[in-house]
């Protein structure tokens, strides 16, 4: 139980200024690095979902969840192990047009099911979505071509277990 492992945390919050600050300060005060962070609207109107990835022990994870949920503007927080989630990351890569017809790149695109989403005279942009390791590998393959820009998103994850935020909110109103 007390071995460090990767957890994906889903935090449902009010969509208010300063919530990110409250969340990050809880990790900061316990000296925990946030490996990845994504903030987006959730399935419920006006409620945001934060998706964070941390590498800590489960004991500590539980304490952090308690301290997150204690925050007034946080509705619920959940943590999940790798096998409890379906997750993806997205990367965008900008390359010079000289490689547009490069066969090796074309092959990589097919294998990775990556898309060319913009093509201009000065550059073209590839989009790919997948697991962290897929994108890491893709990045390595393309790096020799002198990437003009590379950017990747944080992890977003759907959890296999139900989280029941609507139930919680409805219960509170009654």
């Amino acid at each position: 139980m007390d071995k460090k492992q990767k957890f994906t945390i889903s935090v449902y919050t009010e969509s208010h200024i300063g919530v990110l600050n409250r969340i990050s300060s809880i990790f900061l005060k316990r000296h925990i690095n946030i490996e990845s962070l994504n903030v987006s609207p959730s399935e419920i109107e006006n409620i945001n979902r934060f998706t964070l990835v941390v590498i800590i022990t489960e004991t500590l994870m539980k304490k952090v969840i308690g301290q997150l949920e204690k925050q007034v503007e946080i509705i619920k927080a959940f943590y999940h192990t790798e096998d409890e989630i379906i997750y993806q990351e997205t990367a965008l890569i900008k390359l010079s047009p000289e490689f547009l017809f490069n066969e090796k790149i074309q092959k990589r695109l097919k294998l990775r099911r990556a898309h060319m989403i913009v093509i201009t005279e000065d550059y073209f942009v590839i989009e790919t979505t997948g697991l962290k390791k897929d994108i890491d590998a893709f990045y390595k393959k393309l790096k020799p071509y002198g990437l003009m820009q590379f950017v990747r998103s944080g992890r977003i994850a759907i959890t296999r277990p139900r989280m029941g935020i609507s139930d919680f909110l409805n219960e509170k109103y009654n």
């Binding site: 300063g18 300060s25 308690g66 301290q67 204690k70 007034v72």
Partner: protein, 568 residues
């Protein structure tokens, strides 16, 4: 006062005052400045309804509000301006957060058009205060004021209380809007009182009923939940020896037959030692602070642990519990009563009494009735007990003076122990005593301070001069930062690095502020001096020269187990 249905057009700053009156606030502490002047202008206009106490420093204002809140149970209100005014509140906010004290702090802020521009007296107090507030909010439009303040009072006081900060830009204070007020009764993302699980209560009752050597540690949760009566019923029925945390002191009277003293680093011998011998440890409204538990790996490992607690985040945070009974202890203690058998633990209680006698022989008797020449802090507290008959509110500062105040004060009434527990804020005592006296003018309020802590907020003598708050101030002067010096003696080979204090003539200073003052250095004069102080109708300043290198014992040294508590 209820809800104001008729809308009226007023400024944001007048709205602040109206909101406070709707929340039945008639007293606030603070310090004016540029960015909060419109609100101070309204404080002037509303001065008949809302009394404002001007302290000499914003830190003084917030500690006074804490003292007020702790003695009354009501939410303390503080005003400060932007920038340094706001940052000067931070220590008090952090103190209130860790000690669960309900406060609403209202700070002025630069105009919203200037936000983020490094304007004069601009600081980002929202970011600064985020980790130490229960909730905070920046208002940039007057129309947000009623809802923000209503929420602030609801959040500060509900569930586990704490400090809230509302930062109001200057333009929002000037802006006019249609005012109406509605008290806040719920926030959808916030569940202050968790649902009680009756199954857990039943499970806990079975363990308690079968316990041979049960032991209770109670904390401030009993006081915050106004559960003193329920708690007394609970221990009366179960006959379980009960020890207090520092903040739990005064929840039941010191002389209650089942009160076996205080746990913790400088707590009593018996409850610390027997923590590691009980078979069931029942924690009620306390949070297993490290100063209570010592080494967690050697803390009550033999015992089943039941934790009655309102804040789910405290469960299993430090000590792994067997049964967590989540909820306001007032409710959970009432609900468990029908499931409890009448208990009898006479022999077990005698074990506490035996160890108490040992502590008396080695420490307490000599502290209270010293045979050596130098004056002890314990004998001063003992004389105060005698003169106040245990009816006083004892406000302590931080350090040795505080340990003696906790250990030897005789409390008869709840909410009588006001102290900076979790944060250990030196300088808390004097302003907190002013706030306590203002909140409970009918009660005797005695501040127990050291020469170090006094000088951290000594300027608040000016607040006493101006408000005539009849606070009794006792300075236990050993010309050292005594607690640090004690650690230097015990753990740093007596290298007294920066703990020697060269002090001014405190009596002259107090007299300069118009406060009757005297200094006692001799045992023969002490008793009469304490009598004079308590008899005084006005504030009184008593400096007592204490034995310089006296130590607080017993002591659970840092990293030790509670049962390895040293008697000397």
């Amino acid at each position: 006062m209820g809800t104001l249905n008729n809308k009226i057009t007023i400024t944001g700053s007048e709205a602040v005052l109206k909101c406070l009156l709707e929340e039945d606030v008639n007293l606030a502490f603070g310090y004016p400045g540029g960015a909060i002047m419109p609100i101070y202008d309204e404080l002037y206009k509303y001065r008949e309804q809302l009394h404002h106490i001007l302290t000499r420093h914003e830190q003084g204002a917030i500690h006074a509000a804490q003292g007020f809140a702790r003695v009354t149970g009501n939410t303390g209100v503080v005003f400060a301006t932007s920038g340094p005014g706001a940052t000067n509140l931070v220590t008090g906010i952090a103190d209130a957060q860790i000690d669960s004290t309900p406060l609403v702090c209202i700070t002025g802020q630069v105009g919203s058009n200037l936000l983020g521009s490094d304007a004069f007296q601009e600081t980002d107090i929202i970011t600064i205060s985020t980790p130490v507030t229960k909730w905070n909010y920046q208002v940039t439009k007057a129309s947000e004021i009623p809802e923000a303040i209503a929420k602030a009072f609801y959040i500060a006081k509900s569930g586990r209380p704490g400090p809230v900060l509302i930062d109001i830009t200057k333009d929002a204070q000037f802006e006019e809007f249609d005012f109406s007020y509605k008290k806040c009764t719920s926030v959808r993302s916030y569940r202050p009182i968790p649902k009680i699980d009756l199954e857990k209560i039943k499970e806990a009752s079975v363990i308690i009923n079968n316990a041979k050597k049960p032991f209770i540690i109670f904390g401030q949760g009993v006081i915050l939940g106004t559960a003193e009566e329920e708690f007394k019923q609970f221990i009366k029925k179960t006959d379980i020896p009960s020890a207090s945390t520092a903040l739990g002191l005064s929840a039941i009277e010191t002389n209650h037959p089942l009160n076996v003293g205080m746990v913790g680093m400088h707590g009593n011998y018996a409850p610390n030692v027997l923590t590691n011998e009980c078979d069931v440890l029942i924690a009620i409204g306390m949070r297993f602070d490290d100063r209570v538990t010592g080494d967690l790996n050697r803390y009550a490992k033999q015992a089943k642990i039941i934790h009655f607690e309102i804040d789910p985040a405290e469960v299993d945070k430090n000590v792994k519990t067997d049964i967590a009974v989540i909820g306001n202890v007032k409710e959970t203690l009432s609900q468990i009563m029908p499931f409890l058998n009448k208990g009898e633990h006479k022999n077990w209680l005698e074990e506490f009494q035996k160890l108490y006698k040992k502590e008396c022989d080695v420490i307490i008797n000599e502290q209270l009735n010293p045979t050596k020449e130098g004056l002890t802090m314990g004998e001063v507290i003992n004389l105060i007990n005698k003169e106040t008959k245990g009816e006083a509110v004892i406000v302590s500062d931080v350090g040795q003076n505080q340990m003696f105040a906790w250990r030897y004060s005789n409390f008869k009434r709840t909410r009588s122990n006001i102290t900076s527990g979790g944060l250990g804020t030196m300088g808390f005592g004097l302003p907190a005593a002013i706030g306590a006296k203002t909140g409970a003018p009918e009660r005797e309020v005695v501040a127990i301070l050291g020469d170090g802590g006094l000088q951290m907020t000594i300027q608040e003598l000016g607040t006493i001069l101006q408000t005539k708050a009849a606070v009794k101030i006792v300075v236990l002067n050993n010309s050292f930062l005594g607690m640090v010096r004690q650690w230097q003696e015990l753990f740093f080979d007596k290298r007294y690095a920066s703990t020697v204090m060269v002090n001014p003539d405190f009596v002259k200073i107090a007299e300069g502020y118009g406060i009757a003052a005297e200094k006692v250095s001799n045992r023969d004069n002490l008793s009469d001096a304490v009598k004079r102080m308590i008899a005084s109708k006005e504030s009184y300043f008593l400096e007592v020269t204490i034995e310089k290198e006296d130590n607080v014992f017993p002591m659970v040294s840092s990293g030790s187990s509670v049962s390895d508590i040293r008697l000397n």
